[in-house]
Symmetry: C5
Subunit: 352 residues, 5 copies
């Protein structure tokens, strides 16, 4: 089964969630190799390093590897390309920091792809590494291949710039696709937060609170991811490595722009999430104030009235006024007067 | 229809809102070209790059383009001036970051103009780009032309400095007009916030809260816009490009001053908006405290009295004191005494 | 009328408020010129640039100008000293940023003097500019002359260092006088805030809140003013301009010290103001808690008692216990017992 | 008793707590010395500096010292290796700052190992110092030896890299083991905090509050520890000391990665702890709001009803309506109607 | 009276408070001079600069001056050592900033010693200055001499390092003594804050609030003091002055460590103080919630019961049920049932 089969035809125009991830089939190839230059493109599946095709005319080589475990095949790949033990460790450890290492004859980038959990409230990170050496780019991915669909399509059309350039351009194109996905992810977060804000202003729904909290958590996690991504782009812009052509600098500067925009958007979202929580507090506090006023007004009107009624419920023998025929209507009028004037008073104070 | 016709006679002395924006007419020119030097000025409309007039005596050229879509005319313009694909992308993508790129033979500036929504509670950004090359300035604008009215008027009067200088001065003059508009915008925000503060101190109106929130949001958004504007001014001040004359440095330093002032004013506003919200909390909390004191005092006075009245409403056969003629007046005096002393007590504690 | 007459004999040992400002008389001179060296001092009023006295022996010259409008006299002064149009704009625009410009043959400083409003709750800024050129210092002031009183007195006494040094020392002396005034202003703010803190701890007076808010606002505004003042001092310390003698460096370092101290004191005040507001909240919240406890205790004692009394106020025909002679005293003892034990319970919980 | 005996066979896969610490036996050796190269390894206990074995073939030497008091044996060790008085002071003072000193012929690192108190709510720091000189590494440890168990096991197997490299590799391996332990510790903190969050969302248990506070305190303390640890790693990455081989740089860069990851995780935890406390507030405030609504609704329903019932409990002689046979059922129906409509009203306002 | 007599035998192992300060006697010497080298030490009191002993063999000289007023004796001292007027001003102005000035032939340090007020709630600063010139150290002190007791004792013992080194070592020793005192002070603050935390968790005592506020204020003030102290140590570490021997660098680095530790401890305390206040809020809010629940439960139980009892207290002629013998016990059972079920309901909701 080839990489091309794997990628769904929809490009990554939606944030990935765990239940959309294609399940890996049992006998699936753990690697794909693409040899290409301006005129030719050859693609084959790899079960093993020995499956790597000969490359006598030094075509550009892209090896995409789907296995991040310490299995013999992966170790053989590391040995074949003489990756340092610590780089190998960073590839296999899926909790590695997002970072770039410029070694003598290669550039190593370790990054992560954010994937939503099924309920959309949690963010999981899928590890993704790139090793750029002379003529060859190796990518290691825990993430679904669909992210790379667009790249593959461009590679297949011989007129595209990507076919005419070296592997440094492919390296940029993949990083750019990840940056585009991150932009998509932050926009998705922003839409989610806007929805929460609308919910809050409309109905102060008590269910909103834990969702705001979870969203804020995702924003913080995403922020931790995007900042080192920007550092990677910044380092590549200023890189003096032979592996990156002078003419590619503008492309990496563009990558830097896009990652910066994502970082800034994330920082804006963090602020919005905090503001939303503040709005939640203030709204709650305002509502409580309103409720208190109603309670106080109700009590201030009926407690005195009840007391007065209680007076004439007493059983003293000598209460001369209760024997007068007009006493009852006069007293009721008095009560009504008190009730009305207190009501008007509290209405004026805007307590209802 | 010419640029001159388009611009309203009022210069941008008011913050633009969406319903003040002139609607584009169907057959409107998508570009305007102005050739000028100290003695001559020639202006014409452009439907197409081919409409560009000949310029044998190398007059200063200003091309103002109103179409930011990927239409054939715009692509032809990009080709004519050999703009890099990534620069073209930044022009057409109206969400591009505010930034400056100093390329070999040109300077590219991408910025945004803030426009209020009709209800004044939201801020939309209109994209505006400038490309400065030798003898020629190209501006791309999603924003209304009225912002440039003042520039055009100065260009038309042959005695003005702007006619005697190169396109770098025109470049500065446009950036300065945008900076002035931003100053206007931040002052407008400040007035709005001051009004909210007055509303709050006077009447603690519940309607104020979502408006404070929306204003704070606009301030944060505007802050995100102004900071990179300052960076652009700072970069231009230190630029060593041949496109900018030595003598213009002081002008760009002045631009840096104005953008800095806007940034500082925006930061001050952010702090004010936070303080206002804090004031809202504290005022609400203070009011609730007052309401609570009233409720407690009312309850503490009438609950005991009602209980005492309830005692003598009981129907026990042997309650000797109720048969005494003086019992009722004595008891009522007692109740009055309790009521008075409690009232005085709470008055002294300042609970009413 | 001379500068000397104008300045009140009290030096600026008090923060200026708007109603202490001397009103400008109609026919008052708009400028004063002082020519001085170690042996001579000559002072004259200026209505016009033409009134400037001859200065054949190149005495130090101080021109103090009181008009910041775009009137012909001021324009003539700008022309006479060939000030750049943008510098002139910064002088006349009284909202200019606090800043320093080191030009080729002059140093320009724009700053502001804080003046209290009559009620002491608002801060207004008076513009003050200095232009230092060879042998000549020009000061432009919207602020009252009294600030400069001390300088003038020192200039008049021939033994003072100020008479023996160049205009760079005078330039420093004026900036130092402004720094001293700012120190005075921040101390005044600190005293005001201490007073508010005492008010708050003693009586939690509801009037305090908007005053704390206004004071905090003044502190923020003052902070915005003092920070660029420090930058000016810092720049002058490191200046390599010919206009400032080597031997003056220590003086500008001292100025830097004083401005730094003001900035730090202002930052401390900001923190204090925030802490004060927090204290206000917490105190309010603590008071509300106390009030709530009283309300709850009162309700928890009297609601059950009232209910019990209500029971024996019912008119059922067959309520055997009410006919027993001992019923009333027993019941009353029961009520008393309940009341007492609840009171003791709440006293122990410290709810009264 | 040897170092090997001391270390428990479980490696430090759990955070250490005080009651898991092995107690030091009375006659225990206060030091252990290990001489090793690729072929040989010799280990002996030290009671004294004189016990140090001869080392004619310049094997790598690791001296592990367990006594951090100012006893004669420790002083003799300091003298033997000519440690500067101030370094000696930093070793013996168990409150020393976490730091690195690059001296002429040695590198000194002072760090701390976090140990939980028995109840898991407090963090204690155990001092740990390393002195790297030519061919010799001396470690001083207040912390339990078990942390070093893994190192010793690797040293004992002749095929491991650690045996083939110099003491700089051993130096790195020990620092890496400490970094791994810190990662373990921060993960333990994260699990603890997640548990608290679950507790809070499920049951808002009042016991949670002081535990959140104590956890937050541990996080802050741990943050203070990890930041200088990162600085140490950063300094070692850039070190030009002869004591550290060029080839080790990548290892120290890896150490830098791990410490950075710990710092970032700690900062994320701090934010989470603050968010958790905010969630606690908001939840409390939301609950109080709910409680208030119930109280207000109950009062608003029953206070008027009680008053109305009180009216017909009065004993006026002339209350004509009470003599009508239908009065009682009509009145009761009225009361029921009021009660029902108020209940419906408050249900609609969602107050129950 | 000599310096030695003055210093109390207890070294500064306690934080100084105002009532522990030794009062200056009327005829006390305003200065002390100590001449020393490795073999000799000569000490004498000074009333005057003329009392300064001859120093033909260029011994190290320490002059300790206790008068910081503008008296003739102090001015004579300034003149004798040719101190610059601005340095003299910084010595005499006891509010001077904490700072270091490296002049051509001397190093000037201005610092402050924190002293507690008698009630322990406020912090006063005592000014302390050091001037290091060739062979001579002059100290100016508003602070009590006891701080220097330990230094003097070390000077008096001929075997101590301090006697064998130059005045730069003495300069360091005094700064180190001050740093040690600051460490003591911050530990004292930490103990105080821990006590407050215990008070708060145990009893939520209302008296705690203003004390937390005052302590937080002391911490902020102390923070402002310690940060420039660290800068001084940092500057001395990197100093290239001839006055400081190369071999002293390690000592100043140690001083830098100690001051850094104090700064970090102070920052930790600030955070703790803020957390403590937050804990105070949350605890208050939690308590109020508990109180509210009690109030609501009490009201929700007794208001309906009282109403029901009120029904059967009405005097309608035709209330058939009240004539039935079983009515009273049935009704009472009903009330009891309502009371019990409501109680169980609120118990289950954990409102008691
Ligand atoms: Mg891109
Ligand atoms: Mg992109
Ligand atoms: Mg979070
Ligand atoms: Mg995160
Ligand atoms: Mg991550
Ligand atoms: Mg771009
Ligand atoms: Mg301008
Ligand atoms: Mg402007
Ligand atoms: Mg916002
Ligand atoms: Mg924006
Ligand atoms: Mg933006
Ligand atoms: Mg200007
Ligand atoms: Mg706020
Ligand atoms: Mg001064
Ligand atoms: Mg001053
Ligand atoms: Mg403010
Ligand atoms: Mg201001
Ligand atoms: Mg200002
Ligand atoms: Mg000074
Ligand atoms: Mg490691
Ligand atoms: Mg590790
Ligand atoms: Mg903490
Ligand atoms: Mg610690
Ligand atoms: Mg620490
Ligand atoms: Mg690694
Ligand atoms: Mg020390
Ligand atoms: Mg110390
Ligand atoms: Mg404070
Ligand atoms: Mg202070
Ligand atoms: Mg200070
Ligand atoms: Mg030390």
């Amino acid at each position: 089964m080839s990489l091309q089969d794997l990628i769904s035809h929809k490009v990554a125009h939606e944030v990935l969630t765990e239940d959309h991830l294609p399940e890996l089939h049992e006998h699936e190839a753990i690697g794909t190799c693409i040899l290409y230059n301006a005129t030719d493109l050859h693609q084959c599946d790899l079960q093993n390093v020995n499956d790597l095709p000969q490359n006598p005319d030094k075509k550009n080589t892209w090896i995409h590897w789907r296995n991040l475990n310490y299995c013999p095949e992966t170790i053989a790949l590391f040995d074949k390309f003489q990756l340092h033990a610590l780089i190998a460790e960073d590839i296999i450890n899926t909790d590695s920091r997002v970072k770039i290492e410029e070694l003598e004859d290669s550039i190593f980038v370790s990054t992560n792809i954010p994937i939503n959990s099924v309920d959309g409230l949690e963010m999981r990170l899928q590890h993704f590494c790139l090793v750029l050496t002379e003529n060859t780019l190796i990518t290691f991915s825990e993430a679904p291949d669909s992210l790379l669909g667009d790249i593959l399509r461009r590679l297949n059309s011989p007129k595209r710039r990507i076919r005419k350039q070296g592997v440094d351009y492919l390296f940029w194109a993949i990083l750019d696709a990840i940056a585009d996905y991150n932009t998509l992810y932050v926009n998705n977060l922003a839409d989610h937060l806007d929805g929460l804000e609308d919910d809050l202003i409309e109905s102060n729904h008590s269910l909103t609170l834990p969702i705001i909290h979870a969203t804020r958590r995702r924003i913080t996690q995403f922020h931790r991811l995007t900042q080192p991504c920007r550092d990677i782009a910044s380092r590549l812009t200023r890189s003096d490595s032979d592996l990156i052509a002078e003419s590619s600098t503008l492309f990496f500067r563009d990558l830097y722009d896009h990652t910066t925009q994502t970082v800034e958007a994330t920082e804006y979202l963090r602020e919005q999430a905090s503001n939303l929580l503040e709005l939640y507090y203030t709204t709650t506090s305002h509502h409580m104030n309103e409720v208190m006023k109603v309670l106080t007004a109700v009590s201030a009107i009926f407690l005195p009235l009840t007391f007065l009624a209680g007076i004439y419920g007493m059983n003293f023998d000598y209460m001369p006024e209760i024997h007068h025929p007009a006493a009852y209507p006069i007293f009721m009028t008095l009560l009504l007067g008190i009730a009305l004037s207190l009501t008007v008073f509290f209405k004026k104070k805007n307590w209802f």
